[in-house]
């Protein structure tokens, strides 16, 4: 009888697991910032698809490079044509997992520090990165933010020397997503 109960409990538990808790957004925000001598470069993309699985900790981001909006048209054109080459490499993606998932209680309001590890693909180059982030649970709503630095050289983004003083070698990337339940 005990075995039966145990088996039943196990069955019930796996059933809960099968009902995966998946959150997503299709209008997440990714921005980057580069401080230069001449002018600060600040671009924003509000059309980021992100999927977060609170059961497995898997976290994905995908965006179209040509959807970054710059304050100046010339910056936007240069970014698409010369640096990120968005015709050749239309998307940037990140596929990873939250490595300290057990620290987050998705059922309790609060702000949780997380570590995320995974593969980021930009400009056709895939690199494994580990970045810090924050998950905020408020009234059952899940949101996530992160801020980290990216070296343009890591992704083989060539910047002609004539403008290299305008574009910092290190770019600060910010991610912010408000999720909804799938």
């Amino acid at each position: 009888m005990k075995k039966m109960i145990l088996l039943w409990m196990l069955f019930a538990f796996t059933n809960i697991n099968a009902d995966a808790q998946v959150y997503y957004t299709k209008n997440g925000n990714v921005s980057f910032f580069s401080k230069t001598v001449l002018e600060n470069i600040d671009a924003e993309n509000n059309q980021v698809i992100s999927v977060l699985n609170t059961e497995t900790g898997s976290l994905q981001f995908s965006l179209l490079n040509n959807a970054f909006h710059f304050p100046k048209a010339k910056m936007e054109a240069d970014f698409n044509e010369d640096y990120i080459e968005s015709d050749k490499y239309p998307r940037s993606t990140f596929k990873g997992t939250i490595t300290n998932l057990s620290d987050v209680n998705f059922n309790k309001d609060g702000s949780y520090s997380v570590k995320v590890n995974g593969d980021m693909t930009v400009h056709g180059v895939t690199k494994n990165i580990s970045v810090p982030g924050t998950i905020v649970i408020k009234n059952g709503n899940v949101s996530a933010t992160s801020s980290f630095k990216v070296l343009v050289n890591d992704y083989k983004i060539k910047i002609p020397s004539i403008v290299s003083d305008k574009i910092g070698e290190s770019i600060e990337v910010k991610v912010s997503c408000n999720y909804q339940k799938k």
């Binding site: 995966a20 998946v22 997503y24 299709k26 209008n27 925000n29 924003e44 509000n46 059309q47 698809i49 999927v51 699985n53 994905q60 995908s62 965006l63 179209l64 040509n66 959807a67 909006h69 100046k72 048209a73 010339k74 936007e76 239309p90 998307r91 912010s176 408000n178 799938k182």
Partner: protein, 146 residues
């Protein structure tokens, strides 16, 4: 005489530098594409979505980075984190939309309305087939089309 020639050469150089500076400044400060008055490729949300989700690259390049005017039925009106209005237009895939970020808000837009939106088509991002989440076609810098 020689002094005069030297002075003229210097003046010409100075003028060239000033002109180059002005041109550079103008290029650097060139305004963004005017969407409102641009001629647009006309299509419907259903057609645009099915075109961009197909594997034909020729159709993709026809719309991507172009100003398009998309007519369709409003599925949802919401806001992004910046307070910009987001309008989702219905496609024939449930869960897949033409996702428009508005630069100029459409007041009283509500689900079920038939509307026309003009914006730059940035392309299609696939969703996650594992969780049965279809992707969206994205339009940026959108305006109501009258």
């Amino acid at each position: 005489m020689e002094r005069k020639i030297k002075r003229n050469i210097l003046l010409i150089f100075a003028a060239m530098i000033v002109i180059a500076g002005i041109i550079g400044f103008m290029i650097w400060n060139e305004p963004h594409r005017d969407i409102k008055d641009a001629t647009a490729l006309k299509t419907t949300a259903v057609l645009l979505y099915s075109n961009l989700t197909k594997d034909s690259t020729s159709m993709k390049s026809r719309f991507v980075n172009q100003v398009v005017e998309v007519s369709g039925e409003v599925k949802l009106v919401s806001e992004n984190q910046n307070g910009d209005q987001i309008i989702l237009l219905k496609t024939n895939i449930s869960g897949g939309s033409v996702n428009c970020t508005m630069e100029e808000k459409i007041n009283n837009a509500k689900p079920g309305d038939s509307i026309s939106i003009k914006g730059i088509c940035s392309g299609y991002i696939g969703g996650d087939p594992d969780i049965d989440l279809p992707g969206d076609v994205f339009l940026t810098r959108c305006y109501p089309s009258i």
